[in-house]
């Protein structure tokens, strides 16, 4: 097993008079199955772009980032939906935005899929299985 350390830093100097600045970190013990940093060209059919296979009860950490391109070089501003398999929408990523989320099938046998709102989008992703409560 290995340790995965995610850190979020949220900052703003002008959103409010009281400046926003905080950082939070975590230490996760992870194991197989995992998918290291990868890319996928996402189309408009979510079922074609499953990045985390369906499972009933695994705690899986999911990282997804919109590269802002269709293929690594051609710019796009199209949005990408993040969904559970079965087309349950969680949210939408715009160009260069990212997502960090603890997916758990929790008896429902669901995975995670991506779906472009229009056209093709190159997305970056990875997932790692948490060693706790499988």
């Amino acid at each position: 097993m290995a340790t995965l350390t995610p850190t979020l830093t949220l900052t703003s100097t002008d959103a409010t008079t009281d400046q926003l600045a905080f950082s939070v970190t975590d230490s996760l013990t992870v194991k197989a199955p995992s998918q290291g940093l990868s890319t996928i060209i996402v189309d408009t059919t979510g079922a074609n772009n499953i990045i985390v296979p369906a499972n009933a009860d695994k705690q899986t950490w999911v990282y997804v980032r919109h590269t802002g391109t269709t293929d690594g070089s051609t710019t796009t501003t199209q949005h990408c939906d993040i969904e559970l398999t079965g087309d349950v929408a969680i949210g939408t990523l715009k160009a260069n935005e990212w997502f960090w989320f603890p997916h758990c099938g929790n008896g429902g046998s669901t995975g995670v899929q991506l779906q472009s709102v229009s056209g093709s989008i190159q997305m970056e992703y990875g997932y790692w299985s948490d060693s706790t409560a499988q």
């Binding site: 340790t3 959103a15 349950v88 969680i90 990212w98 706790t132």
Partner: protein, 143 residues
Amino acid sequence: MATTTATLSLSSDMLSSPISISASSTLMKAGVTEGLELIEMGRGTIAETDGSKTAEFGLPTALGEDKAAKLFLVNKATDPTYYIDIDLHDTNIGRLYAGDWMFIPWGMNDTASELVIEAEPSGATCPYEFVLLQEPQTLEAHS
């Protein structure tokens, strides 16, 4: 324009090629190059005996489709067996164990996208903290 930046750093000692990821984005309103301006933050506590609850931030009003929002949520419990189930309305989408956090774009469009939390297992009590960044809401007429 408000400029709020969220940066994720991921590192690991796994395998022979350690992971080192840094992803940063400026949090924008939908469809424009203006930053999200409304920031709500706070803390709460949910116990297993509370059952399934819509969180303080879980059912925003006056937001239609194509609005942008980002949600940070952390489980501040210290017992490693205590976790918070995260549901979108009736669908479980994940869980946060003690000390774990998430940062997601949230399609907070309607009741179907209400965010519901539940502490587990039996006897669990989970303090939590949140930050919700969103677009300005329509002000309500006074009563």
